[in-house]
Amino acid sequence: MKLLLWKDYRLNRFVLIIAAILLVCPVVIAGAGVVWVDFPYHPDSGDLHRSVWIGTEIGLGLSVLSLCLLGGNSFAAERIDGSADFLATLPPTRFTVLSSKLMLASLTCVLIAAFVYATRFAVNVATGLSESHGYPVNWALCCTGFGVSWLSSVVVDSPTYAVGLGLLGVFFVPLSVGAMRAAGFLAISNPIGNTVFGIALGTSAVIAGCMLYQRKEKP
Protein backbone atom coordinates (compact mmCIF):
# COMPACT_ATOMS: atom_id res chain seq x y z
CA MET A 1 0.00 0.00 0.00
CA LYS A 2 2.86 2.37 0.90
CA LEU A 3 4.42 1.83 -2.55
CA LEU A 4 1.13 2.42 -4.31
CA LEU A 5 0.51 5.55 -2.30
CA TRP A 6 3.98 6.80 -3.21
CA LYS A 7 3.31 6.03 -6.88
CA ASP A 8 -0.07 7.83 -6.81
CA TYR A 9 1.49 10.81 -5.06
CA ARG A 10 4.26 11.00 -7.70
CA LEU A 11 1.73 10.60 -10.49
CA ASN A 12 -0.37 13.46 -9.09
CA ARG A 13 2.44 15.64 -7.75
CA PHE A 14 1.80 18.36 -10.32
CA VAL A 15 -1.94 18.33 -9.56
CA LEU A 16 -1.23 18.58 -5.84
CA ILE A 17 1.07 21.57 -6.39
CA ILE A 18 -1.66 23.26 -8.45
CA ALA A 19 -4.17 22.45 -5.69
CA ALA A 20 -1.92 24.07 -3.08
CA ILE A 21 -1.45 27.20 -5.21
CA LEU A 22 -5.19 27.52 -5.93
CA LEU A 23 -6.00 27.09 -2.25
CA VAL A 24 -3.37 29.34 -0.69
CA CYS A 25 -3.08 32.16 -3.23
CA PRO A 26 -6.61 33.64 -2.77
CA VAL A 27 -6.08 33.79 1.01
CA VAL A 28 -2.67 35.43 0.66
CA ILE A 29 -3.96 37.88 -1.95
CA ALA A 30 -7.03 38.73 0.14
CA GLY A 31 -4.96 39.26 3.33
CA ALA A 32 -2.22 41.19 1.55
CA GLY A 33 -4.80 43.31 -0.28
CA VAL A 34 -6.35 44.57 2.96
CA VAL A 35 -2.91 45.32 4.42
CA TRP A 36 -1.90 47.11 1.20
CA VAL A 37 -5.05 49.29 1.14
CA ASP A 38 -4.70 50.34 4.80
CA PHE A 39 -0.89 50.74 4.74
CA PRO A 40 0.81 52.39 6.69
CA TYR A 41 -2.00 51.90 9.26
CA HIS A 42 -3.21 48.61 10.75
CA PRO A 43 -6.01 47.13 8.69
CA ASP A 44 -9.51 47.26 10.03
CA SER A 45 -10.10 43.96 11.84
CA GLY A 46 -13.54 43.50 10.27
CA ASP A 47 -12.14 44.01 6.74
CA LEU A 48 -9.26 41.62 7.41
CA HIS A 49 -11.59 39.00 8.86
CA ARG A 50 -14.03 39.26 5.95
CA SER A 51 -11.27 39.26 3.31
CA VAL A 52 -9.49 36.21 4.68
CA TRP A 53 -12.75 34.31 5.06
CA ILE A 54 -13.73 35.15 1.48
CA GLY A 55 -10.19 34.21 0.41
CA THR A 56 -10.60 30.76 1.97
CA GLU A 57 -13.99 30.44 0.33
CA ILE A 58 -12.53 31.31 -3.09
CA GLY A 59 -9.67 28.86 -2.42
CA LEU A 60 -12.24 26.22 -1.58
CA GLY A 61 -14.18 27.05 -4.75
CA LEU A 62 -10.99 26.67 -6.81
CA SER A 63 -10.31 23.37 -5.05
CA VAL A 64 -13.29 22.03 -6.98
CA LEU A 65 -11.02 22.25 -10.04
CA SER A 66 -8.11 20.62 -8.17
CA LEU A 67 -10.29 17.72 -7.06
CA CYS A 68 -11.64 17.32 -10.60
CA LEU A 69 -8.02 17.08 -11.81
CA LEU A 70 -7.22 14.53 -9.09
CA GLY A 71 -10.30 12.42 -9.84
CA GLY A 72 -9.79 12.60 -13.61
CA ASN A 73 -6.15 11.57 -13.28
CA SER A 74 -6.95 8.58 -11.06
CA PHE A 75 -7.23 5.81 -13.64
CA ALA A 76 -7.15 7.40 -17.09
CA ALA A 77 -3.63 8.80 -16.66
CA GLU A 78 -2.22 5.31 -16.14
CA ARG A 79 -4.35 3.82 -18.88
CA ILE A 80 -3.24 6.39 -21.46
CA ASP A 81 0.47 5.52 -21.10
CA GLY A 82 -0.21 1.81 -20.63
CA SER A 83 1.30 1.65 -17.14
CA ALA A 84 -2.08 0.40 -15.84
CA ASP A 85 -1.36 -2.86 -17.69
CA PHE A 86 2.04 -3.11 -16.04
CA LEU A 87 0.49 -2.55 -12.61
CA ALA A 88 -2.16 -5.18 -13.36
CA THR A 89 0.54 -7.82 -13.87
CA LEU A 90 1.96 -7.13 -10.38
CA PRO A 91 0.58 -8.84 -7.26
CA PRO A 92 -1.53 -5.99 -5.74
CA THR A 93 -5.24 -6.60 -6.15
CA ARG A 94 -7.56 -4.04 -7.70
CA PHE A 95 -9.00 -3.38 -4.26
CA THR A 96 -5.55 -2.34 -3.00
CA VAL A 97 -5.00 -0.14 -6.06
CA LEU A 98 -8.39 1.46 -5.48
CA SER A 99 -7.74 1.96 -1.78
CA SER A 100 -4.48 3.75 -2.45
CA LYS A 101 -6.11 6.19 -4.86
CA LEU A 102 -8.98 6.86 -2.48
CA MET A 103 -6.53 7.36 0.37
CA LEU A 104 -4.60 9.99 -1.58
CA ALA A 105 -7.86 11.80 -2.42
CA SER A 106 -8.97 11.64 1.23
CA LEU A 107 -5.61 12.97 2.42
CA THR A 108 -5.89 15.84 -0.05
CA CYS A 109 -9.38 16.68 1.21
CA VAL A 110 -8.17 16.54 4.82
CA LEU A 111 -5.27 18.90 3.99
CA ILE A 112 -7.62 21.32 2.20
CA ALA A 113 -10.00 21.30 5.16
CA ALA A 114 -7.13 21.66 7.62
CA PHE A 115 -5.80 24.70 5.77
CA VAL A 116 -9.23 26.35 5.47
CA TYR A 117 -10.21 25.80 9.11
CA ALA A 118 -6.77 26.62 10.48
CA THR A 119 -6.72 29.89 8.52
CA ARG A 120 -10.22 30.81 9.67
CA PHE A 121 -9.38 29.93 13.26
CA ALA A 122 -6.19 32.01 13.08
CA VAL A 123 -7.97 35.06 11.66
CA ASN A 124 -10.75 34.69 14.22
CA VAL A 125 -8.19 34.69 17.01
CA ALA A 126 -6.20 37.57 15.47
CA THR A 127 -9.22 39.82 14.93
CA GLY A 128 -11.35 38.67 17.85
CA LEU A 129 -14.32 38.21 15.50
CA SER A 130 -16.19 35.00 14.93
CA GLU A 131 -18.99 35.64 12.44
CA SER A 132 -19.15 33.29 9.45
CA HIS A 133 -18.76 34.31 5.81
CA GLY A 134 -18.61 30.73 4.49
CA TYR A 135 -20.90 28.77 2.15
CA PRO A 136 -21.17 24.98 2.74
CA VAL A 137 -22.13 24.43 -0.88
CA ASN A 138 -18.46 24.65 -1.95
CA TRP A 139 -17.70 21.45 -0.01
CA ALA A 140 -20.56 19.71 -1.77
CA LEU A 141 -19.33 20.87 -5.18
CA CYS A 142 -15.81 19.57 -4.34
CA CYS A 143 -17.43 16.21 -3.60
CA THR A 144 -19.40 16.29 -6.88
CA GLY A 145 -16.39 17.34 -8.96
CA PHE A 146 -14.18 14.61 -7.54
CA GLY A 147 -16.85 11.91 -7.73
CA VAL A 148 -17.93 12.56 -11.32
CA SER A 149 -14.37 12.89 -12.64
CA TRP A 150 -13.37 9.72 -10.69
CA LEU A 151 -16.23 7.76 -12.26
CA SER A 152 -15.42 9.24 -15.70
CA SER A 153 -11.77 8.29 -15.25
CA VAL A 154 -12.78 4.65 -14.82
CA VAL A 155 -14.81 4.78 -18.02
CA VAL A 156 -12.91 7.02 -20.46
CA ASP A 157 -9.26 6.71 -21.50
CA SER A 158 -8.51 10.43 -21.50
CA PRO A 159 -7.81 12.32 -18.25
CA THR A 160 -8.84 15.55 -20.02
CA TYR A 161 -12.30 14.21 -20.83
CA ALA A 162 -12.64 12.85 -17.31
CA VAL A 163 -11.80 16.25 -15.79
CA GLY A 164 -14.18 17.94 -18.25
CA LEU A 165 -17.00 15.61 -17.28
CA GLY A 166 -16.26 16.30 -13.61
CA LEU A 167 -16.61 20.04 -14.21
CA LEU A 168 -19.83 19.49 -16.15
CA GLY A 169 -21.09 17.55 -13.13
CA VAL A 170 -20.33 20.56 -10.93
CA PHE A 171 -22.37 22.85 -13.19
CA PHE A 172 -25.13 20.28 -13.42
CA VAL A 173 -25.84 20.47 -9.66
CA PRO A 174 -27.04 24.11 -9.36
CA LEU A 175 -28.73 23.96 -12.76
CA SER A 176 -30.75 20.88 -11.91
CA VAL A 177 -31.60 22.12 -8.41
CA GLY A 178 -32.70 25.45 -9.91
CA ALA A 179 -34.78 23.66 -12.53
CA MET A 180 -36.40 21.39 -9.93
CA ARG A 181 -37.24 24.39 -7.75
CA ALA A 182 -38.68 26.26 -10.73
CA ALA A 183 -40.79 23.24 -11.66
CA GLY A 184 -42.02 22.96 -8.11
CA PHE A 185 -40.45 19.55 -7.39
CA LEU A 186 -38.20 20.95 -4.67
CA ALA A 187 -39.34 23.09 -1.78
CA ILE A 188 -35.97 23.72 -0.09
CA SER A 189 -33.63 26.70 -0.57
CA ASN A 190 -30.97 26.71 -3.28
CA PRO A 191 -27.92 26.38 -0.94
CA ILE A 192 -29.44 23.43 0.92
CA GLY A 193 -30.61 21.81 -2.30
CA ASN A 194 -27.19 22.25 -3.94
CA THR A 195 -25.38 20.91 -0.89
CA VAL A 196 -27.56 17.83 -0.48
CA PHE A 197 -27.73 17.06 -4.21
CA GLY A 198 -23.99 17.75 -4.71
CA ILE A 199 -22.94 15.42 -1.89
CA ALA A 200 -25.38 12.72 -3.00
CA LEU A 201 -24.21 12.88 -6.63
CA GLY A 202 -20.51 12.94 -5.70
CA THR A 203 -20.74 10.09 -3.21
CA SER A 204 -22.75 7.86 -5.53
CA ALA A 205 -20.33 8.59 -8.40
CA VAL A 206 -17.36 7.54 -6.23
CA ILE A 207 -19.12 4.32 -5.18
CA ALA A 208 -20.17 3.59 -8.80
CA GLY A 209 -16.59 4.23 -9.97
CA CYS A 210 -15.20 1.79 -7.39
CA MET A 211 -17.70 -0.92 -8.32
CA LEU A 212 -17.13 -0.44 -12.03
CA TYR A 213 -13.34 -0.57 -11.64
CA GLN A 214 -13.60 -3.84 -9.71
CA ARG A 215 -15.77 -5.43 -12.42
CA LYS A 216 -14.11 -3.97 -15.51
CA GLU A 217 -12.14 -6.37 -17.67
CA LYS A 218 -9.32 -4.00 -18.59
CA PRO A 219 -7.72 -2.17 -15.65
Binding site: L11, D85, T89, P219
Partner: protein, 297 residues
Protein backbone atom coordinates in the same frame (compact mmCIF):
# COMPACT_ATOMS: atom_id res chain seq x y z
CA UNK B 1 5.06 -34.27 -14.88
CA UNK B 2 2.07 -31.94 -14.36
CA UNK B 3 1.81 -28.85 -16.53
CA UNK B 4 3.07 -25.58 -15.08
CA UNK B 5 0.73 -23.69 -17.39
CA UNK B 6 -2.52 -25.31 -18.40
CA UNK B 7 -4.81 -23.56 -20.86
CA UNK B 8 -8.00 -25.56 -21.16
CA UNK B 9 -10.74 -24.97 -23.76
CA UNK B 10 -10.29 -21.20 -23.67
CA UNK B 11 -12.55 -19.05 -25.80
CA UNK B 12 -12.31 -15.28 -25.93
CA UNK B 13 -14.67 -13.02 -27.87
CA UNK B 14 -14.50 -9.27 -28.45
CA UNK B 15 -18.10 -8.49 -29.40
CA UNK B 16 -18.89 -10.75 -32.34
CA UNK B 17 -15.20 -11.35 -33.17
CA UNK B 18 -13.85 -14.65 -31.86
CA UNK B 19 -10.23 -13.97 -30.89
CA UNK B 20 -9.63 -17.44 -29.44
CA UNK B 21 -11.71 -20.48 -30.21
CA UNK B 22 -11.53 -23.38 -27.77
CA UNK B 23 -7.75 -23.33 -27.37
CA UNK B 24 -6.04 -25.87 -25.11
CA UNK B 25 -2.28 -25.85 -24.46
CA UNK B 26 -0.14 -27.32 -21.69
CA UNK B 27 3.40 -26.17 -20.92
CA UNK B 28 5.58 -28.19 -18.55
CA UNK B 29 8.19 -26.75 -16.18
CA UNK B 30 11.49 -26.28 -17.93
CA UNK B 31 10.04 -26.32 -21.42
CA UNK B 32 9.82 -23.33 -23.73
CA UNK B 33 6.78 -23.02 -25.97
CA UNK B 34 7.18 -20.81 -29.03
CA UNK B 35 3.81 -19.33 -29.89
CA UNK B 36 3.60 -18.56 -33.59
CA UNK B 37 0.91 -17.04 -35.75
CA UNK B 38 0.20 -14.16 -38.10
CA UNK B 39 -0.94 -10.74 -36.87
CA UNK B 40 -4.38 -11.02 -35.28
CA UNK B 41 -4.04 -14.76 -34.71
CA UNK B 42 -4.80 -14.34 -31.00
CA UNK B 43 -1.28 -14.77 -29.57
CA UNK B 44 -1.24 -11.60 -27.47
CA UNK B 45 -4.83 -12.19 -26.37
CA UNK B 46 -3.88 -15.67 -25.15
CA UNK B 47 -0.88 -14.34 -23.23
CA UNK B 48 -2.94 -11.52 -21.72
CA UNK B 49 -5.41 -14.14 -20.52
CA UNK B 50 -2.57 -16.11 -18.93
CA UNK B 51 -1.40 -13.05 -16.97
CA UNK B 52 -4.99 -12.12 -16.10
CA UNK B 53 -5.04 -8.87 -18.09
CA UNK B 54 -8.15 -10.21 -19.83
CA UNK B 55 -10.83 -12.68 -18.79
CA UNK B 56 -12.02 -15.53 -21.03
CA UNK B 57 -15.62 -16.10 -22.10
CA UNK B 58 -15.14 -19.81 -21.53
CA UNK B 59 -12.44 -22.17 -20.37
CA UNK B 60 -9.90 -22.21 -17.60
CA UNK B 61 -6.24 -21.30 -17.20
CA UNK B 62 -4.21 -22.64 -14.33
CA UNK B 63 -0.65 -21.96 -13.27
CA UNK B 64 0.94 -24.54 -11.00
CA UNK B 65 -2.54 -25.98 -10.55
CA UNK B 66 -4.15 -22.73 -9.40
CA UNK B 67 -6.61 -20.74 -11.48
CA UNK B 68 -5.28 -17.35 -12.56
CA UNK B 69 -8.74 -15.81 -12.31
CA UNK B 70 -9.40 -16.38 -8.62
CA UNK B 71 -7.30 -14.99 -5.80
CA UNK B 72 -4.91 -13.61 -8.41
CA UNK B 73 -2.42 -12.10 -6.00
CA UNK B 74 -0.44 -15.21 -4.93
CA UNK B 75 -0.40 -16.54 -8.51
CA UNK B 76 1.01 -13.30 -9.88
CA UNK B 77 4.15 -13.66 -7.80
CA UNK B 78 4.83 -16.87 -9.77
CA UNK B 79 4.54 -15.12 -13.15
CA UNK B 80 7.12 -13.03 -14.99
CA UNK B 81 5.65 -11.12 -17.92
CA UNK B 82 7.43 -9.12 -20.62
CA UNK B 83 5.07 -7.30 -22.96
CA UNK B 84 5.79 -6.39 -26.58
CA UNK B 85 6.72 -2.92 -25.44
CA UNK B 86 7.03 -2.89 -21.64
CA UNK B 87 4.66 -0.14 -20.50
CA UNK B 88 6.54 0.89 -17.40
CA UNK B 89 5.97 4.20 -15.63
CA UNK B 90 7.77 6.61 -17.99
CA UNK B 91 8.37 9.22 -15.29
CA UNK B 92 10.15 6.82 -12.92
CA UNK B 93 13.90 6.29 -13.01
CA UNK B 94 15.22 2.77 -13.57
CA UNK B 95 16.11 2.61 -9.88
CA UNK B 96 12.61 3.70 -8.87
CA UNK B 97 10.90 1.17 -11.16
CA UNK B 98 13.03 -1.64 -9.74
CA UNK B 99 12.46 -0.53 -6.18
CA UNK B 100 8.70 -0.05 -6.80
CA UNK B 101 8.29 -3.47 -8.40
CA UNK B 102 10.47 -5.36 -5.93
CA UNK B 103 8.31 -4.19 -3.02
CA UNK B 104 5.39 -6.31 -4.23
CA UNK B 105 7.28 -9.61 -4.33
CA UNK B 106 8.18 -11.50 -1.17
CA UNK B 107 10.37 -13.79 -3.29
CA UNK B 108 12.37 -10.92 -4.90
CA UNK B 109 16.02 -11.96 -5.26
CA UNK B 110 18.07 -8.77 -4.83
CA UNK B 111 21.36 -10.51 -5.58
CA UNK B 112 20.03 -11.88 -8.85
CA UNK B 113 18.50 -8.50 -9.71
CA UNK B 114 21.88 -6.80 -9.18
CA UNK B 115 23.55 -9.44 -11.31
CA UNK B 116 21.06 -8.82 -14.12
CA UNK B 117 21.37 -5.05 -13.70
CA UNK B 118 25.14 -5.27 -14.14
CA UNK B 119 24.89 -7.74 -17.02
CA UNK B 120 22.41 -5.55 -18.87
CA UNK B 121 24.36 -2.34 -17.98
CA UNK B 122 21.17 -0.52 -17.05
CA UNK B 123 21.59 3.21 -16.25
CA UNK B 124 19.94 3.44 -12.83
CA UNK B 125 19.47 7.20 -12.76
CA UNK B 126 17.88 7.55 -16.20
CA UNK B 127 14.13 7.91 -16.52
CA UNK B 128 12.30 5.07 -18.28
CA UNK B 129 11.15 7.44 -21.04
CA UNK B 130 14.81 8.22 -21.82
CA UNK B 131 15.75 4.57 -22.36
CA UNK B 132 16.22 3.06 -25.80
CA UNK B 133 13.81 0.32 -26.89
CA UNK B 134 16.48 -2.31 -26.27
CA UNK B 135 17.21 -1.02 -22.77
CA UNK B 136 13.49 -0.90 -21.97
CA UNK B 137 13.15 -4.52 -23.12
CA UNK B 138 16.07 -5.50 -20.88
CA UNK B 139 14.56 -3.62 -17.94
CA UNK B 140 11.28 -5.45 -18.59
CA UNK B 141 13.15 -8.75 -18.57
CA UNK B 142 14.95 -7.85 -15.34
CA UNK B 143 11.64 -7.02 -13.66
CA UNK B 144 10.10 -10.25 -14.94
CA UNK B 145 12.99 -12.44 -13.79
CA UNK B 146 14.17 -11.00 -10.48
CA UNK B 147 11.46 -12.64 -8.40
CA UNK B 148 12.51 -15.98 -9.93
CA UNK B 149 9.11 -16.83 -11.39
CA UNK B 150 7.99 -20.38 -12.13
CA UNK B 151 6.33 -19.16 -15.30
CA UNK B 152 7.73 -16.69 -17.82
CA UNK B 153 5.49 -15.10 -20.43
CA UNK B 154 7.26 -13.24 -23.25
CA UNK B 155 4.95 -11.45 -25.65
CA UNK B 156 7.02 -10.51 -28.70
CA UNK B 157 9.76 -9.06 -26.51
CA UNK B 158 12.24 -8.76 -29.41
CA UNK B 159 10.01 -6.86 -31.81
CA UNK B 160 11.46 -3.55 -32.88
CA UNK B 161 14.97 -4.33 -31.62
CA UNK B 162 17.90 -3.96 -33.98
CA UNK B 163 19.70 -7.24 -34.89
CA UNK B 164 22.52 -6.76 -32.37
CA UNK B 165 20.17 -5.85 -29.52
CA UNK B 166 17.92 -8.74 -30.53
CA UNK B 167 20.79 -11.18 -30.50
CA UNK B 168 21.88 -9.94 -27.06
CA UNK B 169 18.34 -10.19 -25.82
CA UNK B 170 17.90 -13.76 -27.05
CA UNK B 171 21.17 -14.61 -25.28
CA UNK B 172 19.82 -13.02 -22.10
CA UNK B 173 16.63 -15.05 -22.32
CA UNK B 174 18.56 -18.26 -22.90
CA UNK B 175 20.80 -17.53 -19.90
CA UNK B 176 17.80 -16.81 -17.73
CA UNK B 177 16.07 -20.01 -18.80
CA UNK B 178 19.21 -22.04 -18.17
CA UNK B 179 19.54 -20.52 -14.69
CA UNK B 180 15.95 -20.86 -13.55
CA UNK B 181 14.20 -23.52 -15.67
CA UNK B 182 10.79 -21.87 -15.64
CA UNK B 183 7.95 -22.82 -17.97
CA UNK B 184 8.14 -20.28 -20.78
CA UNK B 185 5.73 -19.13 -23.45
CA UNK B 186 7.43 -16.99 -26.08
CA UNK B 187 5.36 -15.30 -28.74
CA UNK B 188 7.29 -13.99 -31.72
CA UNK B 189 7.28 -13.47 -35.47
CA UNK B 190 11.02 -14.07 -35.59
CA UNK B 191 11.17 -17.77 -36.35
CA UNK B 192 14.95 -18.05 -36.20
CA UNK B 193 14.90 -16.72 -32.64
CA UNK B 194 12.00 -18.98 -31.68
CA UNK B 195 13.87 -21.97 -33.08
CA UNK B 196 16.90 -20.96 -31.00
CA UNK B 197 14.97 -20.62 -27.75
CA UNK B 198 11.91 -22.88 -27.90
CA UNK B 199 11.68 -26.62 -27.33
CA UNK B 200 8.20 -26.87 -28.79
CA UNK B 201 5.93 -24.69 -30.86
CA UNK B 202 2.24 -23.94 -31.08
CA UNK B 203 0.77 -22.34 -34.18
CA UNK B 204 -2.32 -20.17 -33.87
CA UNK B 205 -4.33 -18.81 -36.78
CA UNK B 206 -7.69 -17.01 -36.63
CA UNK B 207 -7.96 -17.92 -32.95
CA UNK B 208 -7.59 -21.64 -33.56
CA UNK B 209 -4.71 -23.86 -32.54
CA UNK B 210 -3.34 -25.50 -35.70
CA UNK B 211 -0.46 -27.47 -34.22
CA UNK B 212 1.48 -28.00 -31.02
CA UNK B 213 4.54 -30.18 -31.15
CA UNK B 214 8.18 -30.31 -30.12
CA UNK B 215 10.17 -28.51 -32.83
CA UNK B 216 12.41 -31.49 -33.57
CA UNK B 217 9.44 -33.82 -33.94
CA UNK B 218 7.63 -31.35 -36.17
CA UNK B 219 10.65 -30.99 -38.44
CA UNK B 220 11.17 -34.76 -38.53
CA UNK B 221 7.58 -35.78 -39.21
CA UNK B 222 6.41 -33.02 -41.53
CA UNK B 223 7.41 -33.13 -45.16
CA UNK B 224 6.81 -31.07 -48.24
CA UNK B 225 6.55 -33.19 -51.35
CA UNK B 226 6.73 -32.10 -54.97
CA UNK B 227 4.64 -34.30 -57.23
CA UNK B 228 4.65 -33.90 -61.00
CA UNK B 229 1.24 -35.02 -62.20
CA UNK B 230 0.78 -36.65 -65.57
CA UNK B 231 -2.45 -34.87 -66.45
CA UNK B 232 -2.06 -31.71 -64.32
CA UNK B 233 -5.37 -32.31 -62.54
CA UNK B 234 -5.71 -32.40 -58.76
CA UNK B 235 -6.13 -35.97 -57.57
CA UNK B 236 -9.43 -37.00 -56.07
CA UNK B 237 -7.86 -38.63 -53.02
CA UNK B 238 -5.64 -36.61 -50.70
CA UNK B 239 -3.08 -38.06 -48.32
CA UNK B 240 -3.90 -38.06 -44.61
CA UNK B 241 -2.44 -35.28 -42.47
CA UNK B 242 -2.57 -32.76 -45.33
CA UNK B 243 -1.44 -29.35 -44.09
CA UNK B 244 -1.25 -27.38 -47.33
CA UNK B 245 -1.27 -28.02 -51.04
CA UNK B 246 -0.72 -25.95 -54.16
CA UNK B 247 -1.16 -26.91 -57.79
CA UNK B 248 0.79 -24.97 -60.42
CA UNK B 249 0.20 -26.55 -63.87
CA UNK B 250 1.56 -30.09 -63.40
CA UNK B 251 3.52 -29.37 -60.24
CA UNK B 252 1.63 -30.28 -57.09
CA UNK B 253 3.24 -29.24 -53.79
CA UNK B 254 1.88 -31.01 -50.72
CA UNK B 255 2.86 -30.54 -47.11
CA UNK B 256 1.97 -33.50 -44.93
CA UNK B 257 2.17 -33.97 -41.18
CA UNK B 258 2.96 -37.28 -39.46
CA UNK B 259 4.75 -38.30 -42.64
CA UNK B 260 5.41 -42.01 -43.30
CA UNK B 261 6.75 -43.94 -46.28
CA UNK B 262 3.29 -45.42 -46.63
CA UNK B 263 1.91 -41.95 -47.34
CA UNK B 264 4.62 -41.44 -49.95
CA UNK B 265 3.62 -44.69 -51.63
CA UNK B 266 0.00 -43.58 -51.62
CA UNK B 267 1.01 -40.40 -53.38
CA UNK B 268 3.02 -42.28 -55.94
CA UNK B 269 0.33 -44.87 -56.69
CA UNK B 270 -2.95 -43.04 -56.55
CA UNK B 271 -2.35 -39.82 -58.36
CA UNK B 272 -0.87 -40.56 -61.76
CA UNK B 273 2.39 -39.06 -60.62
CA UNK B 274 5.25 -39.04 -63.04
CA UNK B 275 7.71 -38.06 -60.31
CA UNK B 276 7.63 -37.60 -56.54
CA UNK B 277 10.33 -35.75 -54.64
CA UNK B 278 10.69 -34.98 -50.94
CA UNK B 279 11.86 -31.38 -50.36
CA UNK B 280 13.93 -30.15 -47.44
CA UNK B 281 11.99 -27.55 -45.50
CA UNK B 282 12.80 -25.53 -42.42
CA UNK B 283 10.58 -24.21 -39.65
CA UNK B 284 9.76 -21.02 -41.55
CA UNK B 285 8.43 -22.92 -44.58
CA UNK B 286 6.44 -25.28 -42.40
CA UNK B 287 4.97 -22.35 -40.49
CA UNK B 288 3.96 -20.66 -43.74
CA UNK B 289 2.35 -23.87 -44.97
CA UNK B 290 0.32 -24.22 -41.77
CA UNK B 291 -0.91 -20.63 -42.07
CA UNK B 292 -1.66 -20.85 -45.80
CA UNK B 293 -3.46 -24.14 -45.27
CA UNK B 294 -5.59 -22.66 -42.48
CA UNK B 295 -6.37 -19.50 -44.45
CA UNK B 296 -7.35 -21.55 -47.49
CA UNK B 297 -9.87 -23.48 -45.38
Amino acid sequence: MTAAISIFNVTKRFGSHVALDDVSIDVKSGSVLGLLGPNGAGKSTLLKLVVNLLRPNAGQITILGRSVFEGASPIKSEIGYVAEEPRLYPWMTVKEVISFTSGFFANWDTGFQELLRDTYSLPMTKKVRQLSKGMRAKLGLLLALSHRPSVLILDEPMSGLDPVARDDFVGDILDAIALQCPAVILSSHLLADVQRIATEIAILCNGRLLAKQPIDKLLQTTRRIRVILEDGRLPTTRPGGLIWECLDRREWLVTIGEFTNQKLDELKNCNHASSVEILEVGLEDLYKDFIRGAQFE
